[in-house]
Amino acid sequence: MSITLANVSRVVGGVAHIRNVSLELERRTLNVLLGPTLSGKTSMMRLLAGLDAPTEGRVLENGQDVTGAHVRSRSVAMVYQQFINYPTLTVFENIASPLRVQRRRKKEVEERVRNAARLLKLEPFLDRLPLELSGGQQQRTAIARALVKDADLVLLDEPLANLDYKLREELREELPRVFENSGAVFVYATTEPSEALLLGGNTACLRMGEIVQFGRTIDIYNRPSSLYAAEVFSDPPINRIAITLAGGKVTFPCGDTRPARGQLTQLADGRYTLAFRAHQLTFGDNTDQSYPFCGKVLLSEITGSESYVHVVWAGTQWVSVAPGVHNLLPGMTLVVAVDPREAFVFDETGRLAAAPPPASGRG
């Protein structure tokens, strides 16, 4: 089944939580809602589920208008950030609860619960109470309960946010496999771009109640349609320089000019923002096409597998990430470079003017 939001808005107490959103989600798809807190992710999920009614616009299910239809008449399951399970029921009973409400036969309940438990690795814990389990296991129980219902729409509101880093990693790895077995529409809200990339599927970038871009996750990553989408999709934060293009030459804020290269050659004269991700700001192995900058190291953060080097250049702060251990001392001069063929160019309004072709080496 497909679910569609058509020009939906939701205004509460004079504040617009959702502004004129149109979205179409197909079955068997995983859709990520990506955005910072208060960008409207939860509000949008509640509209999709039928927990709230839009002040304007319509909600359609398979083409039929279900605007205002209450969630009880829809086929929806939801998983929350706080692990919500019935504290007095065993894990088995917790997972079985929606089926018992639907009055399924005992054998069917048994079979479906065991399947869900196997999928989420809960089989050894079926007799325990939720409070006896770890956070990760409690959340798995909640997810199993959502899946066993075989609902048409499954919503997950930052389900991993309350888990430890390693547990989050573990569950995150398993979720795509768990989801692909079901035929529902999945909607997953998160603030972390790496989660969106790991889950794949489609992503909707949200900002202040509006959808800034919607499409395949990897496409948005490779070709963000606006500076905002590029920012939302970068972890570490995206680096940028304001440039002016005139007569085949690029002028940087410090006054230097360089010849235009890469996509810059195909753009009209004017002011732009050159944006590049942390791993595109290199030191050491620069290509002959790169623009070098003489910056000063602010800080070097080492994780062992890679190092994040914070540099400042002409008053702007950038982050560069490089594999390995680079213990650069603050105050040290460092030449960093960016290859314009790999950078994004955004025009003055923030819209994408040029992007590197996705098949290039380090996009």
Binding site: L38, D157, T191
Partner: protein, 300 residues
């Protein structure tokens, strides 16, 4: 959140609804009817229109005079009660233990005065305060103070006030206690780390966090004290003279004492209106301060 609309729910409400109609709405309509008539309850009705109301609101008439004096008494009483009970309740709540076995014991002791039927409370204090056989009365007189709530208006007021404080401070204390318990431990730890004194902790953390609870406590105590009837009636009957005749007692005197049902009906309706207006003001203030925008840092 939009509540689901389910028409079958109305059927479940019907019995309660009918009950309310018979016990509240119809009698209320009768009172409204009486308030525009001149009657002594003997089924003889003479239309009076807004006559009683006009008389009521005119301080120069006898009725008006009585109304305004009683209203004044009610307001003074409520003000004194709030001034004593709210701070006292806060102090008690702060002193109550927050963990361990003593918590349960404390809560039970605090709840006891609230469970006693109101006329029993009145009777307790009526006997307690008697200068001949009452523990309090006899003790005070024995010490040399001339205490007699039957004869002395000041003593009567003091007795009623102390009785109300004894009866209702627990409510304020329990509400504030609940408010205090909801403060996360991290706040106290941070305050300790910042070197804050007890008073600073109170002003900076506890009082602001109790703000909403206090508003409820004030609203409840004001409403109840303004409507007070049973306890003072049992203790002093409105005396000595008129000194403790609150509006509620006034209404009863006119209705059951003089059988002047028209006047009494009008008086009681105006009384009702005054309470409603003050409560509405409080409510607006309460919800007004709650709708302040609050920026969250967590997930939404």
């Amino acid at each position: 959140m939009d509540k689901p609309s389910d028409n079958k729910a109305w059927l479940l409400v019907l019995p309660a609804f009918l009950l309310v109609v018979f016990t509240a709405i119809i009698p209320m309509m009768t009172v409204v009817n009486y308030s525009v008539q001149d009657t002594f309850g003997n089924n003889q009705f003479f239309w009076n229109g807004v006559g009683w109301y006009k008389e009521l609101l005119d301080p120069s008439t006898e009725l008006g005079g009585r109304f305004y004096t009683s209203l004044g008494r009610n307001l003074i009483f409520s003000a004194i009660i709030l001034a004593i009970e709210i701070p006292l309740g806060i102090v008690v709540a702060l002193s109550m233990p927050r963990e361990g076995w003593s918590v349960a014991a404390c809560l039970v002791i605090m709840a006891l005065p609230l469970l006693i039927p109101w006329n029993v409370v009145g009777t307790i204090w009526q006997i307690f305060g008697r200068s001949d056989i009452g523990l309090l009365g006899a003790a005070l007189n024995g010490v040399g103070l001339n205490y007699n709530y039957v004869a002395n208006p000041l003593d009567a007021w003091a007795t009623i006030i102390v009785m109300d404080v004894w009866h209702w401070t627990s409510l304020v204390a329990l509400l504030c206690y609940a408010g205090l318990k909801s403060i996360p431990e991290a706040y106290y730890q941070a305050a300790r780390i910042d070197g804050a004194s007890r008073w600073a902790v109170f002003r900076a953390i506890q009082l602001p966090k109790m703000h909403r609870v206090l508003l409820i406590a004030v609203l409840l105590r004001f409403m109840d004290s303004f409507m007070i009837y049973t306890e003072p009636f049992v203790v002093t009957g409105g005396g000595p003279g008129n000194s403790t005749t609150f509006l509620s007692i006034e209404v009863v005197k006119i209705a059951l004492g003089q059988f002047d049902l028209g006047k009494a009906a009008a008086l009681s309706l105006v009384y009702n209106l005054v309470i409603l207006i003050v409560c509405w003001v409080f409510y607006t203030v309460m919800t007004g301060s709650r709708s302040r925008p609050h920026v969250l840092g967590g997930s939404s």
